[in-house]
């Protein structure tokens, strides 16, 4: 089972992100489950959504306390909400930011996790370029897919196409593709740097 | 018809209850006393007779019920529902709130109802009626009509939210409120329809302000008009032709309709059981109970007072107002009540054109939201 926990604020499409990921996994023949941490409707409030993916049917109903991957859609949550709580040692971190992990003050994470699995992506900028609005969820999913190999990019693109219409569909697909490519390049660059 | 004859302003036939000076039939005469069968010593035309005069009437609520002697509500319900049945070809379903009417009409194991009838709770008759109407609509049963009914307690107090909801949604229900101005079935307690100064078990005639307080209460017909529903009317059990005509007219409309009927309660009002109809007439003739019709939120017709009587004539016949007359009495309270009556007369134009002045226009304007302060 692979568990993803997505942090963000109301209005940033955090719940949609979890659902898209889960839909994409289902399209690839996996079992999946997505659900938000629940609350009243309110823009701007911290929001968490969860997604579990597995080969077998998922019976668990508890929130994800020990995620395999943490996605942070809004860096203002860092140092404010315990977004990394319970992250497994070989877990992944993906943060929506143009700055590096060090610049975000997160260098201590490197001591506890695999550095190549901790990535920042300028998802809002990529989204703005493709969508005209800085809604980073689809882009971050593209990056997550590149980082973890959890599902294929085409599966993600299909889930996005099923969920959105018109310009939003194309924009989100393109943003996800851009972020995928961006993350992929970064991974390769790091590999060759270590080689 | 035994008992006091109907006092009617021109012939109130089924075309309109308060047709002002619009005579029907060959003779161009104004009849002031129209009986059930006859007027001026002659038999009425069949079409001018009341539903009640017909031996084949629906008898929606038939004999054997346990109402008190002289019960105005039993009378009003029979008049209203038979008229509704007549207008709807016998196809009416009724939803009834808890209250006197429900209790005395269904004494286990008997029922006096001859039409399909449901009693659910105290506060939900309008909502239950809405549900019945929705079911009929879903099933395409356009031939069956729905009546919701209850006393003033179940309509104006505890049932008010459901009533307002039914109004605002535009549900196809005729709601009839039988107003005996208090919670009678439970022992005569005050409701939002209890008039000022009236004694009830929760507004005793004691202290400096005996009886119900002034400045309280809801005017349900005006509130109904504020919802701008297709048809609102008030009526009393003293005017059979008028009440029947209003129910019949209401059945011509679809959507929410509201009829508020004054039904004296001899037990709760402390009146003589043989004077129920008389007292209802005096309520109207004193100006304390305006009788009118409104369409889409605007008053369209008013039943004028034939011969105004001072409120005292109406109040003296009811023990619930006895404290205003015992010993030195309360002339100050009587004065206030008389002022109420005068205000109604001015507002609604109850004495005719000359008295309408600017008041009735103000009332209309208030109803449609066009008036300033």
């Amino acid at each position: 089972m692979f568990s993803v926990r997505i942090h963000g604020r109301g209005g940033q499409g955090v719940v949609t992100a979890a659902e898209l990921l889960s839909a994409a996994a289902f399209a690839e023949g996996l079992e999946s489950q997505a659900f938000p941490s629940f609350g009243s409707e309110r823009m701007g409030a911290p929001v968490v959504a969860f997604c579990r993916v597995d080969e077998r049917r998922i019976r668990l109903r508890e929130p994800i306390a020990e995620p395999d991957a943490v996605v942070v859609q809004d860096p203002t949550l860092l140092h404010h909400v315990d977004v990394f709580g319970g992250l497994l040692a070989d877990g992944y971190v993906l943060i929506n930011s143009a700055r590096s992990m060090d610049e975000l003050g997160l260098d201590e994470l490197r001591g506890r996790h695999h550095p190549e699995r901790l990535v920042t992506v300028p998802a809002s900028e990529l989204a703005r370029a493709r969508l005209g609005r800085p809604i980073p969820n689809a882009a971050l999913l593209g990056a997550l897919v590149a980082l973890t190999g959890l599902i294929s990019l085409p599966a993600l693109e299909r889930a996005i196409a099923a969920r959105f219409n018109g310009a939003a569909r194309e924009g989100n697909r393109a943003a996800a593709g851009d972020a995928f490519a961006w993350t992929d390049r970064l991974a390769r660059a790091r590999e060759s740097a270590h080689a | 018809m035994s008992g006091a004859p109907d006092d009617q302003v021109p012939i109130a036939g089924r075309d309109g209850p308060s047709a002002e000076g619009t005579p029907r039939g060959a003779a161009d005469l104004r009849f002031y006393q129209t009986g059930t069968f006859a007027v001026g010593g002659r038999l009425l035309e069949q079409s001018e007779r009341t539903v009640q005069s017909d031996a084949e009437r629906g008898n929606a609520i038939t004999k054997g019920h346990r109402a008190c002697q002289g019960c105005g509500e039993a009378l009003g319900a029979r008049y209203a529902l038979d008229a509704a049945l007549h207008a709807a070809g016998g196809r009416v379903i009724a939803a009834n709130a808890t209250g006197c009417l429900e209790v005395f009409s269904t004494p286990y194991p008997e029922s006096s109802w001859r039409l399909p009838w449901i009693h659910s709770l105290f506060a939900n008759a309008p909502a239950v009626a809405t549900g019945v109407a929705a079911a009929l609509r879903a099933k395409g049963r356009t031939d069956v009509r729905v009546v919701g009914q209850g006393g003033d307690g179940g309509t104006v107090d505890i049932g008010f939210a459901c009533l307002s909801g039914m109004f605002e949604r535009g549900d196809d229900v005729l709601y009839i409120c039988y107003d005996n101005q208090g919670y009678m079935n439970t022992g005569v307690q005050r409701s939002a329809a209890t008039p000022p100064a009236a004694r009830t078990a929760t507004t005793e005639a004691l202290g400096r302000h005996p009886g119900n307080d002034f400045g309280q209460g809801k005017n349900a017909p005006l509130i109904a008009m504020a919802h701008e529903i297709p048809y609102v009317a008030t009526a009393t059990v003293a005017e059979l032709h008028d009440l029947e005509a209003k129910v019949t007219r209401a059945m011509d409309f679809h959507g929410p309709r509201y009829i508020h009927v004054l039904v004296p309660c001899p037990l709760g009002w402390g009146s003589r059981t043989a004077e129920t109809v008389l007292i209802a007439r005096l309520a109207k003739e004193s100006g304390l109970f305006p009788v009118f019709e409104a369409v889409d939120g605007r008053i369209t017709a008013v039943s004028r007072i034939r011969r105004q009587v001072p409120v005292e004539q109406y109040l003296r016949r009811q023990k619930r107002f006895a404290h205003l007359f015992d010993g030195d009495g309360r002339p100050d309270v009587l004065e206030r009540l008389q002022a109420h009556a005068e205000r109604n007369i001015a507002r609604f134009g109850l004495l005719g054109e000359a008295d309408r002045a600017g008041e009735i226009e103000l009332l209309d304007a208030l109803a449609t939201g066009e008036a300033g302060p």
Binding site: H7, A18, E19, S22, A23, F26, Q33, A34, F35, P36, S37, F38, S40, V48, I58, R59, L60, R61, E62, P63, A65, V81, D82, G85, G86 | G90, I93, V103, T106, Y108, P109, S111, W113, R114, L115, P116, W117, I118, H119, S120, L121, N124, A127, V128, A129, T130, G131, V132, A134, A135, R137, A138, G140, V144, A161, C162, G165, E168, R169, D171
Partner: protein, 417 residues
Amino acid sequence: MREQLEGSQAVARAVARCRPEVVCAYPITPQTHIVEGLSRLVHAGELAPCEFVNVESEFAAMSVAIGACAAGARAYTATASQGLLYMTEALFNASGLGLPIVMTVGNRAIGSPINIWNDQGDAMALRDCGWIQLYASDNQEAVDLHIQAFRIAEALALPVMVCMDGFVLTHAFEPLEVPDQAQVDAFLPPFSPHQVLDPDEPMTIGAMVGPEAFTEVRYLAHAKHLEALELIPRVADEFRSRFGRHSGGLLEPYQSADAKTVVLTLGSVFGTLVEVVDELRERGESIGAVALKCFRPFPMRELREALQGAERVIALERAFSVGVGGIVSADVRAALAGLPVQVNTVIAGLGGRPITRRSLRTLFQEARAGNLGELHFLDLKADVVERELARQKGGGRSGPHAEGVLRDIGAVAAGPV
């Protein structure tokens, strides 16, 4: 065919397949997505003929359903928590009148203090209202139970509430199968009422009943519930043979036949529970679980059969009776009367507090070690409670307990959950 759907949306589609003729709705978290889904279907003309009535309160919702059902229409509504309480009078009225209304309850805690999250306090508070109460262990079962509910309700002329944990199930997005229209039509015939308001055959519904007959009329309600105990498993069997999966029934045992400790629960926590049961069994522990699907009527005999071999039963409840303790466990103890089975009540997950594998593992460890009291509140912060009680004893205006506790634990949640 399975499709990725939100629990609420799947339920909305399932209800729509049942061809309700009147749907009345008042919004309350967490059921809103269900009625919104139905509203869309009606407005788009996909669910017809159906009248969708936007009512002014939950009391009105149930009242409209009463009128509609009495007039012969298949009626449905949904609510939760405060809304369920607000329609209390109407709930008793509907069951007393024998009207087969079906309602979804998106289980949510009852205030005060106001809380929008999941527990089963709402349905439990209305356990005596005469409605049949079914509990879904997961979203697929929630879908299936609604279809079965109309069958059960109309066969018995009794209303049925289908309980599904608010948020946990209603807002979960997962692969679900909603049977197609033809399948549902074959399983659920058109509504044929036992009583109906019909001008062609007038009847009086809702008359007063005095001391001479009230007992008999109320006993009949009980007798119908006992009949339901026979009918519910039959309907579940027929459902399985037509739709190919196990859903509903009275209870579902999981590895409990030979288990020394059996954990009994209702609703979605069952999924987490069986994961822990599997883990522990792998380590050689003798533990199993039972999911109770039907709480009213209470399957005394069936539960006794399922639990009689156990040494200990842990009733894991998401609600409790203040001043006494467990609600379900009281019925469980009655079912096991005379048997040498110890029953522990564990109150968990109140007001949306997640029930985690970690907490359950610790709980079962305590039980094994014999340290579990008869009444145990899972994950209770005893120190917070003690401090608040001390504050109140301090006299003066100590303020509302809720304020005190929130201030003590820090009003802003620092963790992700």
